[in-house]
Symmetry: C2
Subunit: 218 residues, 2 copies
């Protein structure tokens, strides 16, 4: 539980007690919805375990996955009145939930914490810019390779460095993240596996030729 709260906040020292008193640990099962695009924003979440799919829908059903939240990530920061995207659990997910009131009180009381949240938000913005480059100007193969390297780096930063990249999300999720169809994602995986650039394993992918992949990601 101490560990949970510690991950919860990515903070140290004096703020822990305050956070602990305000955080509501919550659990979601695979497919459960944390919140929906346009719904009134009641809570801010900090993911403590599992992976969350973040997405927007167009009225005709087209879907854009805007990100995958991993442990340590914050959700719902961009709250004005309503959430800007929907979020649901990929596999089991644990979060710390903060009510909007608790969140604003916390932020007002602790400028240092706001600074951290602001750093987090600007980092998110940088990632969003990279994703715009990827969506607008990269080929299918480049998209997939950048995605795999990006996920590998994110897991590595969380202390799980490995040549095997876990991919708990479906091919459809990946397609909707990269602006491709499921068929193109599948074919591109198959081609990269034939190349011996990657090895497809249950629940993920093993990076076999990082040199080539880094060269493509440029």
């Amino acid at each position: 539980m101490v560990r949970l709260v510690s991950v919860c906040a990515s903070l140290t020292g004096d703020e822990l007690a305050l956070l602990e008193s305000l955080a509501t640990p919550t659990h979601f099962s695979s497919g459960d919805t944390l919140f929906t695009q346009g719904a009134e924003a009641h809570c801010v979440y900090n993911v403590t375990s599992g992976v969350v799919r973040l997405y927007q829908l167009l009225s005709d059903g087209r879907r854009q996955v805007v990100g995958f939240a991993l442990p340590g990530d914050f959700l719902g920061l961009a709250m004005r009145d309503a959430y800007g995207f929907s979020a649901d659990a990929i596999g089991d997910v644990a979060v710390c939930a903060f009510s909007r009131g608790a969140y604003t009180a916390l932020v007002d009381a602790k400028p240092h914490l706001l600074k951290r949240l602001h750093e987090f938000a600007t980092h998110e913005l940088t990632l969003a810019h990279e994703q715009m480059m990827l969506l607008g100007r990269r080929t299918a193969e480049e998209k997939l390779i950048c995605f795999l390297l990006g996920m590998q780096q994110r897991w590595a930063r969380l202390g799980k460095p490995s040549v095997t990249v876990p991919l708990p999300m479906t091919r459809q999720d990946i397609a909707d993240f990269l602006g491709l169809t499921i068929e193109t994602v599948s074919r591109t995986f198959t081609r990269l596996a034939k190349d011996k650039t990657i090895l497809i394993v249950p629940g993920g992918v093993r990076v076999m030729n990082p040199e080539r992949m880094n060269a493509v990601a440029a």
Copy 2:
């Protein structure tokens, strides 16, 4: 000059004097570079007049325009050590520049200001998510219509509401923003003009059928 600083900060009352003492008004001519992707981030900028093109480059020359900054917008917030994108002037541009030191001092001294900047950053993040949906899941015609309506709204929020949308950027800039080629942008404009959805005028576009455009943007 009072007006300048006022726009500069989008703030009220007691913070103005502080800001005024730290801001360095600067002017750029068409095509001038404010800063370059990867360069050490010395300054934060607040645009006071004109339009700034924000973009990233791939090593082979492919370009993604990640945004157009209008008066009131902040640039370089996502500074860690280096700028995440390049910025240059489209036509004449005036900005207030804050040195990194002045910026961090200001932010540490005035939590209220940090809160404003954080709101601005989260708003930017929301826009970035919308742009991801546009780049990943929209057709060329939808992209262009969403772009025009988006620019119209942004000018309107700045107190310049009009059915004529100014487009000071080139067709190539628009193409690189929407993930299209210049030819597709030109053809799509021509088709929308034939439709009587828009009227192409020097330096911009006049919205002729906002109902249809809003329906497409959904």
